[in-house]
Amino acid sequence: MTLLDGEPTKEYQEGSGVARLGYSFNFLMAKGECTTQWSKTEDTCSTLRNRKAFLSSEKQQQDSQPKDGDNSQTAGHSSKDGTQSSNGTSAQWTDRGTDPPRKETHSSVLLLLVTVLSFSTRLYKIMEPAHVCWDETHFGKMGSYYINRTFFFDVHPPLGKMLIGLAGYVTGYDGTFPFIKPGDKYEHHNYWGMRGFCAVLGSFLPVFAYLIVLELSQSRTAALITATLLIFDTGCITISQYILLDPILMFFIMGAVLSMVKFKQQTHRPFSAPWWLWLVLTGVNLAGALGVKFVGLFVILLVGLNTAWDLWGLLGNLHLSLVDIAKHFLARVVGLILLPLFLYVTIFAIHFVVLNKSGPGDGFFSSAFQSRLIGNNLHNASMPEYLAYGSTITVKNLRIAGGYLHSHWHLYPEGVGAKQQQVTAYLHKDYNNLWLVHRQDENNTQSGAPDLVRHGDIIRLEHKETTRNLHSHLHEAPLTKKHFQVTGYGINATGDANDLWQVEVCGGRKGDLVKVLRSKVRFLHRATGCVLYSSGKTLPKWGWEQVEVTCSPYLKETPSSQWSIEDHINPKLPNISLSLLKPHFLEILLESHIVMIRGNSGLKPKDNEMNSKPWHWPINYQGLRFSGVNETEYRVYLLGNPVVWWINLASLGLYVIMVAVASVALQRGVPLDQRRREHCCVLRRGGGLLLLGWLLHYAPFYTMGRILYYHHYFPAMLFSSMLTGITLHILLQSTDFLLRPPYSYWLQKVGQMLLLFSVLYSFYLFHPLSYGMRGPLAHEPASAMAGLRWMDSWEF
């Protein structure tokens, strides 16, 4: 390649040589099957992309060109046409990468420009507002928990909050700020570290997007369009500026995509050092994405599909031996499955090691889990060893994330079985979880040493707070219609025969004692023969969204029908220290995942809350209030730059049309010149990858039952912007369909300028959304945003 330094004429020759080389492929396949044509075009793609590597061979091809040209005169003519027509425009197009010193400085200048702009837009006014905004109240708090080493429960995996905590710790935040509610003033607390960390990660997004598009389309224009859209999008700026998980998540997502694309570029030299580097980086980023939020699964899916497609291509390459393919396969298994899995597990290991003090999340977990936490009442617990009559106990279901047996002063509503007191399972520790153990016949506890409960005994459980007995009868349970209803019945512990339960220790024999915490106990209803069961279904509003408890007529032994005695208070018995079985790490891991998934699906939309629908998002229908409502307050409103978002939306449609036209043209065998062929290839391969990314990060939300927010769209929006870059670039390049060369070139430049200025001007108009606004609301003429409320649904 050094041959061609700075010599425009040779450069041009080289370009035409490539065109003809591409053409010779074209000629060969003209009568081939459509499938082989597809793979051939792929070949052309990869040849073009790896021009550097193949340059010497191209030289040879170039030497042998005339022969080819003679063989096919008409075609040679058309290819010449193509190169000529693209003469003006392709000056910067065809020579990419062939002219290192000047071009590379040029491209690094551009990259630097993108980086600087990105950082400056994100870090500007990072300290404002000096109060807690929106979800900072959660994630800031959780960051503080890491600094204080207090155990908590969250529906997301821990990496994001760990990084926030770390950033805070490094920059001198001491974890003392309580983060009680949005709007609290930070005062003297050091919050800039956490915000700055998120903003720095957020600043990398446009840079990564620039590099990805550059890699996919080999065009700086396309990459610059993408970077412009992202840098000047108010939504991306706002979401990067606060202590949130999203910038961290998107950093890892984009990092994974970038490494994947870079990895793909290394196809021609497998198992080299850069090949391994990008593979490993992809894996690391995947682990990071999944470690922040479960949304990371979508990018894993994207990388997985891409890798599978890759391997399928390798399998079809008959030059590779099966051993080679196996090597490829195993390398990817190690890099993309085992390594991320290992890292992910490590994240959790650190999480559990760091958080060793009891905190607000204890009740979600099993007794064994809780015993690990310093300060929990089960940590180094001491209580009477065997269950006795007259004791006060709490009963916990053994299903993972099963709750405590619970009752409260509320009745089942009309039409749900008998209108008696509700009995539920409740995940939090509460006074209403306490039950008293009685013999079947007497109420008051006798004096002297109490008798112990044995396997097979008939007992009565009295709810301590309401003095109702645990009761069941032949009515349908509220949700699980095949089971019987469980209620609280009677008053002051006098009830009827339906209040009697037989205690059975699983695997025990008659007469065995019931060990606290360690025995698995079943409660069999005496009258109907059913077994006390926690179905795991959440009751509707009348049941305070607690978990249903039923009496199951199916006596299969499942964790749902097994209970353990957790707290045991009996002053008449000696307390002994219980050395509990420490749970295995994998058990904790599994348990915490099940709890997280339950928690996620439990986030149902509330009735009077206006929830966001997925179709709102791409049209930028409605934003999110980050801070401030009234005229006097400092307001920040998360809303994408409408011009950017609507351009994205339009280019999605445009892309589909363009790719359809291109595909039909290829399928019908319409003769196309080399440049167009290349465009089709970029549209189909690069664009296809990005479209898939967009779909994977957007479509699944339609099936989710949980509550959704506007900011869930941002990862998809990144993909959409990258797609826009490619689409618009190729659209502008195709102007020569309309006009003759010099004019088409001008039209193209005008289009680019128009795009740039519309984005910049709209950013100028809407920048107060991100950087804060005060004063009257937008519907009043005095406001800074007057006249900019283009949609009624925007609330600023």
């Binding site: 459509c34 079809g316 699980t480 095949k482 399928q667 065998g669 099936t703 009624d792 609330e795």
Partner: protein, 728 residues
């Protein structure tokens, strides 16, 4: 001129196999159809709908489009016809005919006839479908036998249920498409087949929404074939264009039009008001005979200052209701200690009442009568609303509402002289003014009432008030007026021009019924869109049924459904499949997937185990059978409604096609050298065991003969099956 050649010869070729299969199918599905002479399982629902069809009463069934109900209703009409015939005969003899004395068997038989016929026709369809896949007659016979001897399909066809109809149309659409695809490419008559395919797709979708997924599968395959056509350079551009357009018309346009046509029939047949009226908008209700249209007939159209109106909330959740007020004030303090304005309550009341009347007043005028000529209210006008019976002004202010404290309270203003001034101006915003007009119209206009002082919007919160509010629904003024919500908009339902000056006269006037006349009709398209939207959005109460099950349990048939139990004996009918067939089908599914994987990998490495035509046949079997199974099964995992075993039956039918096809593939391509005789023996043995298990479960399929408790116990092959015995 073409002369007629004599003798006239007609050559008829009859495939005896096919004929025999059809007859057997009819025999298994149609024999003793009217037994049991009782309502079985979901026949309760379908029976109701059929009777509503007979009475021409409008209803909504959110479970599916109307074609299925219409097909069942045809059975009902047949019943009536037969009854009339019988009546005539009886009349001749006895001269007394009371329709209560129909011979009851006739009706049951005719209502169940059409599903049973559809179910029986599935058997020959499967036979033909296999032949279209270019497989042998033996294979076709095998598939048809599997279908013929499947107990669950028999049970489901023999009652007034829709699954067999759905399966029939699905199979028909695939058969027609394959006919089209296999026909020589030069003939244009093959487009008849495509048209028929599109039509039966529309019918399948019209019976149950599940049909959409098999329609999508068919579309996908058609797209693929069209794509190959586009790639065929031998065909001219024009020809390609014409063929593409033809395919689009047959597979996209025709089904769409037919689907709308089902609704057209549905809406034109059902023109009377009925139990589900309340779910629809006022305009829709007014178009039905009886019900609302009886009241609104002849009302003045344009709402004017001085009009007396009732305002209905557009939200039908939780119940449809009207803006209401009564002589009772908000309590000074609520249970939770918050205070109120103690002014007169304004609520939403789900019943017609004289207290629902409001008078629209011009803030600039004192009179409460309509001037001549009437001065109509337009979008953007400021009005006051006066409650007809108590003469209080509709008012809102910065006081938290009783149940939704984030919103403002709405009250009938009482001046307690506590520096709480009246804020009773409301601006009228007509939401659908583009579609209708700027003038506020009765029934047609959807209006938002915006409070002038606070710009909050009058809204139905949907929460019921406690006892002090007589359990009526709460009305608030909400500032968060995000977008269009039905709870924010109101329509005028009853309307008349006020004429009385005095309060007493006015009260008398309000008590009297309205009567003036104008006619309001809405177009079919508006009705169609509204009905379609309601059907897709109205949520069923999610509840678990005793026999409901989850999709994973279907593959292994973990559960059954008890359809009917004789009131005194042990005779009973269950939806239980033929366990042997299910086992074989599942086996073949996994075998196919395994084979496909091996073939694919080996082909990719350039090793061609199969010749090209055999491979394309193998692929065709795959997309039809495995694809059909997948599209009819997998979507259930995403559904949140109550699911039953019978939802699996369409998927199962496609699996039954797979088993013999795979057997033939094994025979002709995998076992070429080793003994094919062994395979034949295996196939025969399998067929025999299918037949045996069919015989075994027959008593539970047909409900007779009655079995003893011990025999029933023996039939309980699985622990989880629920078979009922009577304790003696």
């Amino acid at each position: 001129m073409l002369g007629l050649q004599l003798p006239l010869l007609v050559t008829v070729q009859i495939n005896m196999e096919l004929l025999l299969l059809t007859l057997l199918a009819f025999w298994t599905r149609l024999s003793q159809l009217s037994y049991p002479n009782a309502v079985v399982f979901d026949e309760v629902y379908y029976g109701q709908f059929v009777s509503l069809y007979m009475k021409r009463v409008f209803f909504i069934d959110e479970s599916g489009p109307p074609l299925g109900h219409m097909i069942l209703a045809v059975g009902g009409y047949v019943c009536v016809c037969l009854c009339v015939c019988v009546c005539v005969c009886v009349c001749v003899c006895v001269c007394v005919c009371s329709c209560a004395e129909y011979p009851s068997g006739v009706c049951v038989w005719s209502l169940r006839l059409l599903p049973a016929v559809c179910g029986s026709l599935c058997v020959p369809l499967v036979y033909l479908l296999i032949l279209e896949l270019r497989l042998t007659h033996c294979t076709a016979l095998g598939a048809a036998l599997l279908l013929l001897l499947e107990n669950s399909l028999i049970v489901q066809s023999r009652f007034m249920l829709l699954e067999s109809v759905l399966i029939f149309f699905q199979l028909l659409s695939f058969l027609c498409y394959l006919r089209f695809h296999n026909a020589p490419h030069s003939s244009w008559s093959r487009y008849c087949w495509l048209l028929l395919s599109g039509a039966s797709c529309a019918a399948a979708v019209g019976v149950k929404y599940m049909g959409v997924f098999s329609y999508l599968l068919l579309l996908g395959v058609a797209c693929l074939h069209t794509w190959q056509l586009i790639g065929d350079r031998a065909v001219s551009h024009v020809s390609v264009c014409v063929q593409c357009v033809c395919r689009c018309v047959c597979l996209l346009l025709v089904p769409l039009l037919l689907y709308v046509f089902w609704f057209y029939v549905h809406l034109s047949v059902l023109y009377r008001s009925g139990p589900h009226d309340q779910l629809m908008s006022s305009a829709f209700q007014a178009s039905l005979e009886g019900g609302l249209s009886r009241i609104t007939q002849g009302q003045p159209l344009e709402v004017a200052f001085g009009s007396q109106v009732t305002l209905r909330s557009s939200a039908s959740q939780p119940v449809p209701c009207w803006l209401h007020s009564h002589k009772a004030n908000y309590p000074i303090r609520y249970d939770n200690g918050r205070g109120s304005s103690h002014q007169q309550q304004v609520t939403c009341y789900p019943f017609k009442d004289v207290n629902n009347w409001w008078i629209i007043k011009d803030p600039g005028r004192q009179e409460l009568v309509v001037s001549t000529p009437p001065h109509p209210v337009r979008h953007g006008d400021i009005i006051q609303l006066v409650h007809g019976m108590t003469s209080r002004f509709l008012n809102s202010h910065d006081v938290a509402a009783p149940m939704s404290p984030h919103a403002q309270e709405v009250s009938g203003y009482i001046d307690f002289n506590v520096s709480m001034p009246a804020q009773n101006l409301w601006r009228v915003e007509i939401f659908n003014r583009e579609a209708e007009s700027e003038v506020w119209k009765t029934i047609l206009s959807e209006v938002r009432l915006v409070h002038v002082n606070t710009s909050a919007v009058l809204k139905l919160s949907g929460v019921s008030l406690p006892d002090w509010g007589f359990r009526q629904l709460e009305v608030v003024a909400d500032k968060l007026n995000k977008g269009h919500q039905s709870s924010l908009s109101w329509t005028v339902e009853e309307h008349r021009y006020g004429t009385s000056q005095e309060q007493k006269e006015r009260e008398a006037e309000l008590h009297s019924p309205t009567h003036i006349d104008v006619d309001s009709n809405i177009s079919f398209w508006a009705k169609f869109l509204e009905l379609q939207w309601k059907m897709l959005t109205v949520k069923q109460e999610e509840s678990e049924h005793k026999y409901s099950s989850s999709p994973l349990e279907w593959i292994t048939m973990e559960t059954n459904i008890a359809y009917w139990l004789h009131p005194s004996t042990n005779a009973q009918i269950h939806l239980i499949g033929n366990p042997v067939s299910w086992g074989v089908a599942n086996l073949s599914l996994s075998a196919y997937q395994l084979l496909a994987l091996v073939y694919l990998l080996r082909r990719r490495r350039g090793i061609k185990d199969l010749p090209d035509d055999a491979w394309s046949q193998f692929v065709a079997v795959g997309w039809l059978c495995v694809g059909g199974w997948a599209v009819n099964f997998l979507p259930f995992f995403l559904m949140e409604k109550t699911l039953f075993l019978y939802h699996y039956l369409p998927a199962l039918c496609f699996l039954f096609l797979l088993t013999p096809a795979l057997l033939e593939h094994t025979h002709s391509h995998l076992l070429r050298c080793s003994s094919p005789a062994a395979l034949c023996v295996c196939a025969l043995a399998a067929a025999a065991s299918v037949f045996l298990s069919y015989r075994t479960f027959c008593p539970l399929t047909y409900g007779r003969p009655e079995l003893s408790a011990n025999q029933l116990q023996d039939l309980r092959w699985r622990e989880s099956w629920d078979i009922l015995y009577r304790r003696r």
